[in-house]
Symmetry: C2
Subunit: 385 residues, 2 copies
Amino acid sequence: MDNPLMLMIPGPTPVPQQVLLASAQPPISHRSPEFRNLMADLTADLKWLHQTQNDVLILASSGTGAMEAGILNFLSPGDRVLVGCNGKFGDRWANLCDQFGLATERMTAPWGKALDPEAFRLHLQAQPNPPIKAVIITHSETSTGVLNDLETISHHIKAHSSALIIVDAVTSLGVCPVPMDEWRLDVVISASQKGYRMPPGLGFVAVSPFAWQAHATARFPRFYFDLGKYRIDAAANTTPFTPPVNLFFALQASLAMMKAEGLTRLFAHQQGLMQATRAALRALDLPLWVSDDAIASPAVTAIAPAQIDPELLRSHLRDQYGVVIAAGQDHMRGKLIRIGHLGYMCDRNILTTIAALEATLSDLGYPFQPGIGSQAAARCFAQPS
Amino acid sequence: MDNPLMLMIPGPTPVPQQVLLASAQPPISHRSPEFRNLMADLTADLKWLHQTQNDVLILASSGTGAMEAGILNFLSPGDRVLVGCNGKFGDRWANLCDQFGLATERMTAPWGKALDPEAFRLHLQAQPNPPIKAVIITHSETSTGVLNDLETISHHIKAHSSALIIVDAVTSLGVCPVPMDEWRLDVVISASQKGYRMPPGLGFVAVSPFAWQAHATARFPRFYFDLGKYRIDAAANTTPFTPPVNLFFALQASLAMMKAEGLTRLFAHQQGLMQATRAALRALDLPLWVSDDAIASPAVTAIAPAQIDPELLRSHLRDQYGVVIAAGQDHMRGKLIRIGHLGYMCDRNILTTIAALEATLSDLGYPFQPGIGSQAAARCFAQPS
């Protein structure tokens, strides 16, 4: 298939050539010494990425599958859960909880705004009865481009309750710090097609000892997603069910590249891509949906253009210039565009995107000073990081 | 990773170079016209492979995940199910049913023997009350190398009950005929790393209209594995959750190759590989565990060598000659070896395996006439098919 399109969406993200080629090796037996060596490597490197001593388990599933596993393995029907809802993914997890008969409460904030840590503190201080068994937080809300203040929320939860902290880190892990141990997170979920810089198909669930305690008494029936099985097998460097070995090859290659870079440089680089994107959009007078830099997601930036139809802009950018950006989701469809800037990207990706965006704006008759966006991005990149 | 080993196991199976390279293309957006075209192609070709007009849905999961989806989407807690158990996988599905609180009955046969269709007929004719909601059959029992008589069992089920027929076709689909419509199967489960000739990571669930009726009233909670979501989205050539697009590329390439070959030639070829393997093992006087050709699986052949330690044979074959075969599973570990001969293999794979097996037998002091196995296999291949 011919694929000249440049992906600037919040997943799948671009994949390095060496990772793609690693995935194209002939499959190996998953019951072999070679596989056990591979599995040992992956487990060590995943702990490094999560900044944790906890178990990090690999599932053959999308991020949603991993999230379902990450919620249901630690709870029982009827348990009270509090879900942070300020976008499509927070809403999805609340729906999932409803679907499985949990007593779901929603802590909401408007789409495009951050969850308020104080609201969590007050709610938990009031000692709800029965106590809340788990708090579910979407760290980076991919639908809006908001980065919730997970560190502070987690601090309040641990200070005022014995609830588990379950985190959707799908577009934050590998993009900005998610130090699982330091922040005392209990369950951290992620997926391969985002910060991992590899194709979709793997989900990840990191589990704290406190969460394993809850697992021991959790009563949701489970089989394919029974994390207890994965834990036992991971300790022996194997898997309970046939793993997608080719994606495991890709993961190995990708984690090796990330380790060579180091977390500090990795996060600084991702931060730089976001800053340059935001500076360019501001210079172009395209309204950032999340105007407060303090809560801007390093994964994706949304704009809500007033003078120009977002869907027209998006399709023109794609059809004329081969740059793919994302639409708004759910009720924001047709009102937003979202530019992904996470994963394997360099400054050139941002400069190209802004140049193509300027060309599109020009074609569509939007009034602006040509070059002003590109210049703003370039100026960001020129600053010492 | 260096990978000189030749895989002769019942999955993962060897993958054609062009399928591996297809999977190494840069990911595309799963919300794009290109993806919708891909999805439309796959849906049409999957129906061809299943010989059906029914929906065939694609999941990001192993075969076990697909099987869990294929069972739970059509049942409610407490439903009576009858599971054919004559090997590890039949046992696994019965355990899964127990785990989820179904009223599970087991129709057993010894490992290495086929399920008795008559036993199903008698059981269902007796009109159990409450009626059995689903019968679960493993078509090709990968743990033993038995091909159950699915056609006859299905006939009896449809003649004497209103039960759903749920089939594990993981090592039969693409290997021998599984004509879903003709045999009136309701749910057919398969996985990518077997007859599909591609890497692991995708599960497939084909669903009849009768099964969709059951789905409408089935009460197991579900989210990631809710096939209703996949059905609605597949009709619009999309997916509810991020699909493993690189594996979708591989699937497209693989199905195109299979279609070029045609089902008749495909199945005859797979049958030929099995016959040559069996002829060689018989000539070598290595006792076939499934001695009756009528119930031999075209996916895998097990032998239970008496004069030689199976694990020693297996490790020598691997370490000296680079040919990987499978061990016995569960209580048969250390008692059996299993040679996989499904998927992308040609006559040469069998001749190589038998030659390496003869070399191994020779090294280990097993008395036999050198060349007799290879000759028997070659004689099979020389016959017009």
